[in-house]
Structures are given as C-alpha cells and as structure tokens.
Amino acid sequence: MTDVAAPATRRAGNLAPAAAGLGSLVAFLLAAEALIRGDVISRFIVPPPSEILGSFYRIATQEHILARFLLTTGECLTASIMVAVFGMLIGVIMQRYKLVQMACETWVAALVSAPFVLMYPLFMVIFGRNSWAIIMMGFISGLPPVILKTIEGISGTRKVLVDVGRSFNLSPVQQFWKILFPAALPTIFVGLRLGLIFALINIVGTEFLINFGGLGQLIEDLAERYDLAGTYAAICFVILVSVLFFIALEKVERWLRPVD
C-alpha cells in the first residue's frame, strides 16, 4: 500500500512548488487588477491585466505580430548561428596555437564587459538601417563568451581521454570530433548561453533604439502611440520569444549530449 502511494505522493510533492509559483503569479495579477480598478494604481500608468490580455488578439491581428515575431526570431537565429560557428572556430584556433591564446585571451576576456551596443550608430552607418546592422550587433556582442568558454572547455579535457584517442591513433580531426569537442561541449554551452543572452539583448535593444524591424520596434511604436495595454502585451511577446529561444537552446544541448 505504502509502495503504491509513494510515487503519487512524490508526484504531488513535485507539483506543489510549480503550483505555488503559478498560484503566486495569478494572485499577483488578480491583486493588480483589483488595485487598478479601485484606482489605487493609476490605469494611465499600469493598465489592468484583463485589458492587456484582451489586447493580445488586437496586436496579433492588427500589428502583423507573426511577421515581426519571425523577423526578430530570424535575426536572433542568424546571429546565434554566426556566434556559435565563428565563436567556436576562433576558440579552437586560439586553443590550438598557444602563442595566439596567450597574446589574445585577456583581450577577449576584457571585451566580454564592453558595451558593444553603443556602437549601433556606427553599425548603422556601415551596414545601413537594416536587419544586417542588427544581426551584426548581436553577433559581435555574443562572440567573446563563446570564444573564452571554447578555449576553457577544450583545455579542460581530461588527459586520460586525450591519451585514449592517441592510443587509437586518431587523426587530429578525429581527435577533435570524437574526444575534444564532446568533452568540451558542456563548457561551450555555458559560453553559448551567455553569448546568446548578450546577442538577444543587443538585437531587441537595437530594434527598439533604431525603431526598425520586429518586436523591439513594435514596443517603441505602441509606446509612442500611448497604447499602454498594447505595449505591455508586446513586452509579453518579447518575453515569450526569449523563453522559447532558450528552451530551444536547452533542447539542442540535450540533443547534442544525450547522456550526462
């Protein structure tokens, strides 16, 4: 009897925190609704959540949300692929040539904290006011963490694994794909996640600042029209893109390393 009941109890125990989290969110929204309707919080500053919910359909149909969503997602995806490919490639080259690593690694580390986003006027002059300026902003800002973590991951491969590869007479290419890359993957993904956070911040931020493109521009447009409910709804859409983006990244990570 106890054995049968145990999994059910465990399941309930697992669901309780999630239910508490979701319950708090709903309670917060209900409290906000009541406070705004009771004029404790001005509805000219914060619209009632029910109004925000109602404006989802409106901005989805009237503001071409799908096209904007696809544009922002496309920019993020392009920048991510470029960040992943070039970041890992540069990291591998730097790790392979120790002299280059010793000369440049501290510079790359310093660039992680550099506010690249402020270079957007320069990128607009070079690439024009188009998606490529935005993609390049995301690419440049996401690159340093991926380079650093690729170097760290490959350098941290256990010596015994490298020796196993040698004992099988693996070529340098095989050694990389069969030993070094899989061993470095967890660390590389830490860098990728960081790099993509920076890329996403810069892409949506630049869209918002230069009033061009996808969801960033939509927020700016709606805010300028003083469509408060629409602005909040558009913000929710950007949060959704961000969440989906990182869930997809997690799936890719699990797919690439199915066994932990």
Binding site: A16, P17, A18, A20, G21, S24, L25, I45, V46, L99, V100, M102, A103, C104, A110, L111, V112, S113, A114, P115, V117, L118, M119, P121, L122, V125, I126, E152, G156, R193, L196, I197, L200, I201, N202, I203, V204, G205, F208, L209, L215, G216, I219, E220, L222, A223, L228, T231, Y232, A234, I235, V238, I239, S242, V243, F245, F246
Partner: protein, 263 residues
C-alpha cells in the same frame, strides 16, 4: 634545488613571453595600419572611419572638457545606484532561493527565463513609472543587474560545502551569523561573478536608456555626437567607455580575488 627548478622554468618561459609581447604589438600595429588605410582609402563614406590623428585629437579635447566629466558623473552615479539596488536585492533573493528548495522550485524558473530577456523593452514602462530623469535609467539598470546576481547567488548557495553549514549549526549560529560567517564568505566567488555579470548588463541598460531618452550622461553625448555626425568625438567616447567598462570589470574581479583562482 627547488629554486633552480623555478629559475629553469622561468628561463624557458622568457622567450614565450617576449614572443607574446611581440605578437601583441604586431596585432595592435596591424589593426592601426588597417584602420588608417581604411580612413584614407575612400572605400567607406567619408568620416565613417576617421584618421587616428583626428580620433586622438577628439579624445584629448573630450578629456579636457568639464562637460564630459559632468556627464560621466551622471552615468557613473546611475550605474552605481543600479548596482547597489539591483545587487543587494539580487543577493537577498538569491540567498532566499538558495536556502529553500521549495521556493527555488516555485520561483527560480521564472527568474531563469526572465533573466535573458532584453530589459530595454521595459524602458517605456519604466519611463511611465519613474519619469524621464535619472530614476528610470537607474530602474532599468537595477532590473538588468538583479537577475544575474540572484541566479548566481542561488546557485552558489546550493554549492556551499555541507560541512561548513554543519560547523555553523554545531556552534548554534543564529540565522544572521550563518549568513555573515558561513554563507557570504563561502559564496564570495559566485557573488563576485554575479556582480561582474550584473555590472555588464547594468552598464548596457543604463547607457541604452540614456541614448533613447535623456538630457545627460555618456549615452546622451554619444547619440548627440552621432546626430551631428561627429564621428571622431563618438569614437573618442566609445574608447573612454570601453576602457572604463573593462577596467571596472577587472577591478570587481580583482577585489573578489578571482584572479587568484586556478582553473
């Protein structure tokens, strides 16, 4: 004998070090040469890549101007305030989530997924709440800084050696004593890492907010220079800002003793 070994190793490293210095010098020279070539080639629009001499001139002029320091003070003040408010609230939230498994499982997923969201999208809302002045910039910086600190501290808290906690308990330490004597010292590195990340995103948040809607600060000066296409001045400000950001990041790491960690 050990001394001899150390000397031999130092001697073996010496040529490598000088090669590193040479390579660094070569890279810097190459970049400067390419820049100067681009400046005089006419391949890009005029003034997009101004000559190095003009940038240095603009830098000297900028650093000799009192107005620059006033705006720099505004930006640094906003970033500092954002770091204090966002850092402390992130620290408190991180400790709470790290200490309580139920709370962590209930609320951490929200922080985890909200963390990477570009906070600049909240600027119109924050302007409504806090107005056009420095407050909205500080609020954006605070919001940016809160998430990396909270997540890093929560993870650091869970990674504390259980022996240390048992030692604290065996001394019957109060909650505050546990926080001050056990948790915080043991979490120094995750906290510093979180603050470094928080500093980076707070800096971006504050500067972006300044470029969008402001009448003071370095972000405002940069967008002003861009609007009159004064590119040498814009580059000069970017150089100063990059140096300050990199320096501040290095300083936070050094204060936290991160440079002594061997990976």
């Amino acid at each position: 004998m050990a001394e001899t070994g150390r000397l031999t190793r130092a001697a073996a490293r010496a040529p490598m070090v000088s090669a590193v210095v040479l390579l660094r010098a070569a890279i810097i020279l190459a970049v400067l040469a390419v820049w100067e070539l681009l400046a005089h080639s006419g391949w890009l629009y005029r003034d997009v890549v101004p000559s190095l001499l003009r940038i240095v001139g603009a830098l000297v002029e900028l650093l000799g101007h009192a107005d620059f320091y006033r705006n720099l003070g505004v930006t640094l003040g906003e970033i500092g305030a954002a770091l204090v408010v966002g850092g402390l609230s992130g620290l408190a939230a991180g400790i709470l989530l790290g200490a309580n498994r139920f709370l962590a499982r209930a609320y951490e997923p929200y922080l985890y997924y909200l963390g990477p969201t570009p906070k600049i999208i909240f600027l119109p809302v924050l302007i409504m709440w806090f107005g056009l002045g420095s407050e909205s910039k500080v609020a954006l910086g605070t919001l940016s800084c809160f998430f990396p600190v909270a997540l890093s501290v929560a993870a650091g808290m869970r990674g504390i050696d259980k022996v240390l906690i048992r030692v604290g308990n065996s001394f019957r330490a109060s909650t505050w004593q546990m926080v001050l004597k056990i948790y915080l010292p043991a979490m120094r590195h995750p906290i510093i890492n979180g603050v470094r990340l928080g500093l980076g995103v707070a800096l971006i948040g504050v500067l972006l907010a300044e470029t969008k809607l402001s009448s003071a600060g370095i972000g405002f000066l940069i967008i002003q220079a861009y609007s009159v296409f004064d590119m040498p001045r814009m580059y000069a400000m970017l150089i100063v800002l990059f140096v300050l950001a990199i320096g501040a990041n290095g300083l936070v790491g050094r204060l936290g003793g991160l440079h002594r960690i061997r990976h």
